[in-house]
Structures are given as structure tokens and as C-alpha cells.
Amino acid sequence: MFGLSPADWQAIEVTLRLCFYTTVILLIIATPIAWWLAGGRSPARVAVQAVVALPLVLPPTVLGFYLLIVLGPRGFIGGTLENLGLQHLAFSFEGILIASVIYSMPFAVQPLTEAFNNLGRRPAEVAGSLGAGIIDRFFTVILPLTKGGFVVAATLTFAHTLGEFGVILMLGGSIPGETKVLSVLIYDHAEAMNYQAAHRLSFMLLVFSFITLFLVYSFTRRFEVAKV
């Protein structure tokens, strides 16, 4: 189909798997962080905000390099895992998943922080006074009132993970079925002068990304209008 090779399909499968898990994990992690960040201004909050935003400005190679050191066989985490009789995380799917989560963090945290800021604390306070516990409050009040923010966060995270290249190349290498994602495969195709294969995949990514962003922006606009 579409003239794609089995290797292409394998890369697509790895990419989608990576995007899906990254999005799910990030929504779970980013929600409490964003809620806390939206709680006011304090030096600790500003510091966390800056750390979360680091991937926006750092070259992906810098992030990938440090992750390689930490997650690799001699790194703090990788080494500990090896001592426990487990595999270290460099050059593995789990490794690039951790990298993606960190690398796409701002794309989940920032829309959610914004949504929580707009919402304010009042609805949650009211729900609490009416007997709703924290989880109850989240699912019956906060989530329904900020679902626009969650849609934006999820889509941006997914799309941004789709476009990852540098971090994965540094940390994951290019192992088919494990760490070889679309962007890396396109690079491989281009290196091998296989321009037609590179073009097919590139064009798919281009179209997919455009559609995603188009949907996000039309949704956020509708969301803003609905709020007024």
C-alpha cells in the first residue's frame, strides 16, 4: 500500500506506538504539574516552569546526550538497572519513550497550565465544599471544563513526538522495530540516496502534521468562542 516497504511499515508502527504512549504518559504527568504551576507565582514554580520549557530551546542533541549518559550502562539509572539484572535503557524503545516524554513535556504542560489558569480555582473549591474528593473533582468538574486544553495538549504532544529526530538518534540509534522511527528512516533513505522513499514518507508526515495542526487551531478557536 502506498508503495511502502515492510521496513517503512515497521517504522510507522514504532512511531505511532511511541507517540501514543508518550501522549498517554504525558497527560498523566503533566496534569498535576500544570495544576500546580497554575496555582500562583513562587520561585519554585518559576524554576519548574523553566525546566519544563528547556526542551523548547535546547538542541535535541544536548538532551539526547545527557539522557544517553544517565540511561546508558554506566549512567545512574542505566547502571542501577544493570545491577538489578535488568537492561539499561540506551538504544531501547523504553529509552526513547522516556526521552520523548521529557522532550514533549512543554507541549503538554503549557496548554494545560493555560487552561487551568483560565479556569481558576473556584470551580474546584466549590466542588470540594460539596463533598467531592480530589479525583472526583478532577473528573466531574476540572476535566469537563478544560477539555479544550486537554485536546490541545494531547494533539500537540502527539504531533511533536512524531517530529522527534535528534534526541532519538542520540539515545536510540536506529534499531529497526525498536528505535527506528519515521524521521530516522527518512534520514536513512536520504543518506542512501533513496530519494523516492524519503519523499513518500516525508510527504505523509507533512500532510499529517498539517491536518493535525489545522484541527487543533480550529478547535481552540471554537473553544475560545464557546467560552465567551
Binding site: R122, E125, V126, G128, S129, L130, G131, R137
Partner: protein, 356 residues
Amino acid sequence: MTLAVRARWRRGADFTLDVDLELAPSGVTALFGRSGCGKTSLLRIIAGLERTSDAEVRFRGQRWQEGRHFLPLHRRRVGLVFQEHSLLAHLSVRGNLLYGYRRTPARQRRHHPDAVTVILGINGLLDRRIDQLSGGQRQRVSLGRALLSSPQLLLLDEPMSALDTQTRREILPFFSDLAAHADVPIVLVTHSPDEVQRLADHVVFMDDGRIECVESLKDTLARPDSPLFGNSGPASVLEGRLLAGSGDGLTRFGNDRIELFLQTSQPPPAGTSRLSIQSSDVAISTHRLAGISVLNQLEMTIRQLDRLRPGRVLVTGNLADGQALSAEITEHSAARLGLEHGQRCYALIKSVALLD
């Protein structure tokens, strides 16, 4: 005692809340003071909306906050009504009303949704969206929502200050009904002397993060320098029932011991009402006067004479039913009439205001 709060809370560089307070076991307690005096902060600590380290809150023998112990908001069973609209926008009126009701165990429920919606006059709005409600309707729904969670304490944070005068007039009777009939203590944050006179049984005066004094409404009204009076000078508040007019365009107010006449266009509400009488609108006579246009002459026994400011004396007496009324007269008149403690006299009331 019911509610005990002690708290020290530094907020920013120039504000410290420092309170140690025991509140009345029932009725309405007003936290009164200028904006920024810390009354809302105090309310938030009581509710459990602020988790400050140096605070203790106890309510009817339950420890709400003490040391590291902190009973979270959703387990305190307090009803909250805020100044601005705080309804949940994704739910209908019904959804809002039942949000707390559904989360209240059946055996703790004291009110039925049908009864509450009828009393508050919102039974026709149940399927409306929140943005289709007027300001007064929103506050009534908020109040109903809080009541339906069967709280053990109601906390009202300036519930009427965002409403226009007309809406406030329309909604105040609901609050005073609530104050009179709900078997739940109420803490009301307000900066309006009118609301205090209309609704409160006790007043906590706050200034700059501190509590200046805690008094019953009666006591504070008996004090010529009460902060409640502000610029308009001392006033008295009389409690009684309004009775329908008798064709002379006048409405009767009072009880079986005292009776006043007043002009009002509004139909008399059920239950008790309160009148406010400015002390400067009351004159004193040693005899009942005939041939005078003033309608309201009440006999009273002088209890207290206070010098207000140079040349002015505040005469406070007990009416036949024991309620206090004060009159502001000149020192010269007081001397001329020979007014003294225990003496009987007549208060001539030139104008009264129905607190509604």
C-alpha cells in the same frame, strides 16, 4: 462552643492575619470590616480552602485543623456561597443543585430538592443552562446548592455585594429566611452595615488582620461608637412582624407589646422583619403628645445616657417589649427635660427604614 479558630498567617510583606476567636453556637455571625481587613482570609481558613501552617480550627468537637492534622475541604461539610457567580458552567441548574446532594449520604440529608427549589423560587429554572440565569437567580441556585449538601456550617462570602440594589432587595428575604429557619450556623462576610443589621445575630469586627471585638448585634447597636454606624451616626434595629395595611395606606409593624406604623409598597413577607431607626430621627418627650404629625410614639424606660460629641446626648431606653431604642438629642434638651436613668418617656420616631 461551636467554632473556634486561631490563626497567624502572613501574606505578603504588609499583611498578617492574627486571630483567636470563638463563634456563637447558632444564628448568623457577621465578619464585618473594610475590604482587605482579612475577613475573607479568615473564612477561607475556616472552610479549609487555605492550608496555613500556623492555624487551628475546631468545630463542634471535631478537629478540622491542628498541628499537622488537616481535615480536607470535602470532608468538612461546609456550604459555601461566594460573591461572584460560582456555578459549574458545564452543568444545568439541576446538575448544580444535585452535585452536592448526590454526594451527601442519605441519612445526613436534611433537605429535599423539591422543597428547596420551591422556597428559593427556582423550580422553574431546573433545565436552564447557567448562562441563561440572571445574577439574582445564580445566587439563589448557589444558595440552594449549598443547602442541599446539608452542611453543618454555612459560609457566605459577600453573597450579595455583586448584585444591583434591586436584585439585592429581591434576594435578601431568602437569606433572612434562611437565617431564621435553617438549623445551621451561618458565617457571613460583609462590609455592608445594612446586611449586618438585617441578618446578623453576632458581629465580629475586623480591622487590618485583627479582631477588634465580638459582640451581639444588640450590644453593638447599644454602643454609640459602634463601627457599624459609620457616617450616618447611631441607629437602632427593631425586630417584629409586618401586618397587612388597614386601608389607611399604612402597614403595622411590631408584636403584642409595641406597634409602629410605616409606609411601604411591598407586601408584608412572612416571618420576622427588621426596622432600622436612625437615632437622629428620634425625639424625646416626657408626655404622650397629641396634635402632632408624628405617627409613632413609643413609651420607653431610659436605660442609658451617653455623651456622643460636644452638645449631643444619646438616650437609650427599653421599649415595652424589652427591645432597645435610642434617640440623639442635644445636651441642652436632656438637661431641660431632666432625663435620667430609669425614667419613663416617649420616643417620637420621625422615620423608619425597613431593612429589606
